[in-house]
């Protein structure tokens, strides 16, 4: 069968790619578009390393077919920094040493950004529940939680 022609928007840029039905959005981002910031962890929706937004909604890109991206607007980690200027979440992750090996980090950043866009002043409990689908085996989570709450404070201009 012919490949699907997918026309979508990634981080505001119109892009097109070809994919097979069974290729996931994660596969397409990494292998067709070269956007390797989105990481593959479990491939079964448990770890959150592949988190992206689709039309503003946080999802695991391993649980979305590439062909489903047609006509949608995708947000990935590559859209977070503005050129050389890091997003406040990215800066706070560095300041708080909220990462070690780094594989989970793009997913945590994309997920945290999605939370703060809806909920600029989350409680720690809200934040921990929101991030329950992002697994990190290095940090023990506390540094991540502190980094996100600190970034939220800064982003509110507090």
């Amino acid at each position: 069968m012919a490949k699907h022609h997918v026309a979508t928007t990634v981080n505001g840029d119109a892009v097109e790619f070809l994919c097979e039905t069974q290729e996931t959005l994660l596969d397409c981002l990494r292998d067709q578009l070269g956007l390797t910031g989105t990481k593959e962890g479990c491939s079964t929706g448990d770890c959150g390393a592949c988190s992206v937004t689709v039309d503003g909604r946080l999802v695991c890109s391993c649980l979305v077919l590439g062909v489903e991206a047609n006509g949608k607007s995708i947000g990935t980690i590559e859209g977070m920094a503005k050129g050389d200027e890091l997003h406040p979440l990215q800066r706070k992750f560095i300041e708080h040493a909220a990462l070690q090996c780094g594989i989970c980090t793009p997913g945590f950043l994309v997920a945290s950004k999605a939370l703060l866009e809806k909920t600029p002043n989350p409680t720690e409990i809200e934040l921990r529940y929101w991030l329950a689908g992002n697994l990190c085996r290095c940090t023990g989570y506390d540094k991540i939680v502190r980094a996100v709450l600190d970034a939220a404070t800064e982003m509110r201009g507090a």
């Binding site: 069974q22 695991c60 391993c62 489903e68 329950a132």
Partner: protein
């Protein structure tokens, strides 16, 4: 593997009916893609139903709500009116998976995946919801408790799709609730799930009840004796003890890594009591 995204139920039904190989419906994909990835399924055709209006809408209908089979958990949570009328149903759907999974997972998929531990199903059963099934012979409404027959087995015949759920009008002084037991606080599959919906009269006596249990039998159960333990009472301690016993008596669980038979039976009784108390509190305020 072919992919089709029809814009009408008629087209979807026609595609499904004429396919001789394994065809699968794609709603949120949070079960389907995992099963494809782990080689449990290798369909020849995927029919994405998200382009069909009825599957994606929440509408007030006949005094209740029609909820599309492909409405996501996140969308249910954001629907303030549905959440205020049927909080148990929305909370049950919201227990499924992570934030990311909630962005995709649907009640239609949760039911059609055919797991006895599906969180939204006992809540839908307790609420008295019907599944609207569309197929080559037209539409039919089936009580949710009659849809799943056994693990991975549904009452759907060739070409049939669940398009939406119909939640009935909620009588005055009625409350619903769903609780599940898992050994942690998030991201797990129910050891036991329990949905309760009950109605009180002006004097606080229970006039109607529905109790449903998940993960304690080959399919989610509507437990009439458990409901009977509440009706005619003020849902006092004696009634709750009878509810506990009736819930335990209905269980036919398996032993697995999540719990032994004995454990599941014990938990089912405790969970039924706790769920009934939340439903009672809500009924008093409704």
């Amino acid at each position: 593997m072919r992919y089709e995204a029809p814009s009408s139920l008629d087209q979807a039904v026609a595609l499904l009916a004429k396919e001789s190989g394994d065809a699968r419906i794609l709603a949120g994909g949070t079960d389907l893609l995992v099963q494809m990835r782990t080689d449990i399924l290798d369909p020849v055709l995927i029919i994405d139903i998200k382009g069909i209006a009825e599957t994606r809408q929440i509408k007030e209908e006949a005094g209740g709500f029609r909820v599309g089979a492909a409405v996501t958990g996140a969308e249910l949570k954001e629907h303030a009116k549905l959440k205020s009328v049927w909080p148990g149903v929305v909370e049950a759907a919201n227990l499924i998976g992570s934030t990311q999974v909630q962005g995709r997972a649907t009640m239609g998929g949760n039911l059609c995946n055919g797991s006895p531990a599906a969180d939204s199903v006992p809540a839908l059963i307790a609420a008295g919801a019907k599944a609207t099934i569309v197929g080559p012979k037209g539409r039919r409404d089936v009580p949710v408790e009659d849809v799943m027959l056994a693990p991975r087995k549904l009452c759907l015949t060739k070409g049939e799709i669940i398009a939406s759920f119909l939640l009935p009008p909620k009588p005055a002084r009625t409350g619903d609730a769903y609780l599940r037991f898992i050994p942690r606080t998030e991201m797990d599959i129910a050891v036991v799930g329990c949905g309760v919906c009950l109605t009180l009269d002006a004097g606080g006596k229970c006039t109607a009840a529905r109790v449903s249990l998940g993960a304690v039998a080959a399919r989610p159960l509507l437990v009439a004796p458990a409901a009977a333990a509440l009706v005619g009472t003020s849902v006092d301690d004696a009634a709750l003890q009878k509810l506990d016993a009736a819930a335990r008596a209905a269980c036919q669980p398996i032993d697995d890594k999540r719990g032994t038979k004995e454990y599941r039976i014990k938990v089912a009784g405790v969970l039924a009591r706790r769920t009934a108390l939340i439903a009672l509190e809500r009924a008093r305020k409704a």
